[in-house]
């Protein structure tokens, strides 16, 4: 698992090709542009997985956009052991008070992270707060969150690529694929 060629070999099935992703992102950009016509929009990308989607989506949007980045700790790592609570690792760089804000996510599954983020961002009093996700995995949902823009609804499989990782790898794949189970069955 040390180079891109090996990474692709770890993918058992290409779920979404590069062309499919780009076509859908372009559509989403048109839709967002139409919905926010005549307004300025702030896109908030949730690191790290949403970076490629953010980069493509913002260029598909034709209304004026500002961008900002946030990073939230995830359960299961060092942060869990030290505090047991989610935290903001990278906060917004500018105020969103009175702004139209669109959260840009790579994938929504349980909705736990997004639920936390929504509560946090609502506290900053934006004029509006909506959600755009490239991938939605509703079978995993614990927290029902209304999603305003969805790229693809996907089955309950572990996917990597186009920003999505396993062990911080695979983010640079240009497609979204299903990781072969034997990859994560191996000791990390």
């Amino acid at each position: 698992m040390s180079d891109a060629r090996d990474l692709e070999a770890d993918v058992g099935e290409v779920l979404l090709s590069e062309d499919e992703i780009q076509a859908r992102v372009t559509e989403l950009g048109r839709q967002v542009s139409a919905d926010y016509a005549g307004r300025q929009l702030t896109l908030v990308s949730v690191l790290k997985g949403s970076l490629p989607f953010m980069a493509d989506l913002m260029r598909a949007i034709t209304v004026p956009v500002r961008i900002d980045l946030m990073e939230v700790s995830s359960y299961g790592g060092a942060a869990t052991e030290s505090s047991g609570l989610v935290r903001i690792l990278k906060d917004l760089s500018a105020s969103i008070q009175g702004e139209d804000v669109l959260i840009v996510e790579d994938i929504i599954d349980t909705g736990l992270t997004l639920n936390y983020l929504l509560r946090y961002l609502r506290g900053k009093n934006p004029a509006s707060l909506r959600i755009c996700t490239l991938l939605d995995k509703p079978a995993r949902r614990l927290v029902d969150i209304p999603v305003d823009y969805t790229g693809f609804t996907i089955p309950d499989q572990f996917v990597v690529g186009y920003g999505l990782d396993y062990g911080e790898l695979y983010r640079n794949l240009r497609f979204v694929g299903v990781l072969r189970p034997e990859v994560y069955a191996e000791p990390a």
């Binding site: 790592g77 936390y116 069955a185």
Partner: protein
């Protein structure tokens, strides 16, 4: 005690001290005596994301005999009050899951306004995979009785319809320390 309808061991309230909390916060509420380590892990996840929860707060009767006595009931593992959602977790074998599915269907028939999600073993496995804790699943899967060793059984008792539990825990709202772990 063992649930006669599913075969799953499900103990009640314990007289002794609750299991220790997962971190060093001294102001954290005591942990309830979870029936299974997967439930304890789910509680830690809910705590992490600041989702309030209650453990087995209600028992719902789902079957009565001709005399009107409750002969079968269902106590979902978690209630998430902010989300209005009951969560039932299982790491049971498929044969027993079918019985649990049947109970859940009955529950939904009798209480159609109730929002209940059954969290299967595969759901828990997927969650652990996402959080990089897959080894925990392997450690828990197929454990006989599905019971944590530090939990003491209570004397057998009949079902208590819709009775609030004395075991209640809500999420902590303490200030975290800095860390460097990023989400996916």
């Amino acid at each position: 005690m063992t649930d006669p309808t599913t075969g799953e061991q499900r103990t009640g309230a314990v007289a002794g001290p609750a299991a220790p909390a997962s971190d060093d916060h001294t102001d954290a509420p005591p942990r309830p005596p979870f029936a299974h380590a997967s439930e304890a892990e789910m509680a830690r996840i809910l705590d992490f994301y600041e989702v309030a929860w209650e453990y087995e707060p209600r028992t719902f009767p789902i079957l009565w005999n001709l005399a009107g006595d409750v002969v079968e009931s269902f106590s979902p593992d978690f209630y998430l009050p902010d989300l209005g959602l009951y969560l039932e977790m299982t790491t049971l074998r498929q044969r027993l899951v079918r019985k649990k599915n049947r109970k859940l269907r009955r529950l939904r028939e009798l209480y159609p306004d109730l929002r209940v999600k059954l969290f299967y073993a595969r759901d828990f496995r997927a969650l652990m995979l996402k959080y990089g804790k897959l080894a925990l699943v392997d450690a828990l899967s197929g454990t006989p009785g599905q019971v944590m060793p530090d939990r003491e059984p209570e004397p057998a008792a009949g079902p208590t319809p819709a009775a609030p539990s004395t075991r209640r825990s809500v999420t902590r709202r303490t200030t975290p320390a800095p860390a460097s772990e990023a989400r996916r």
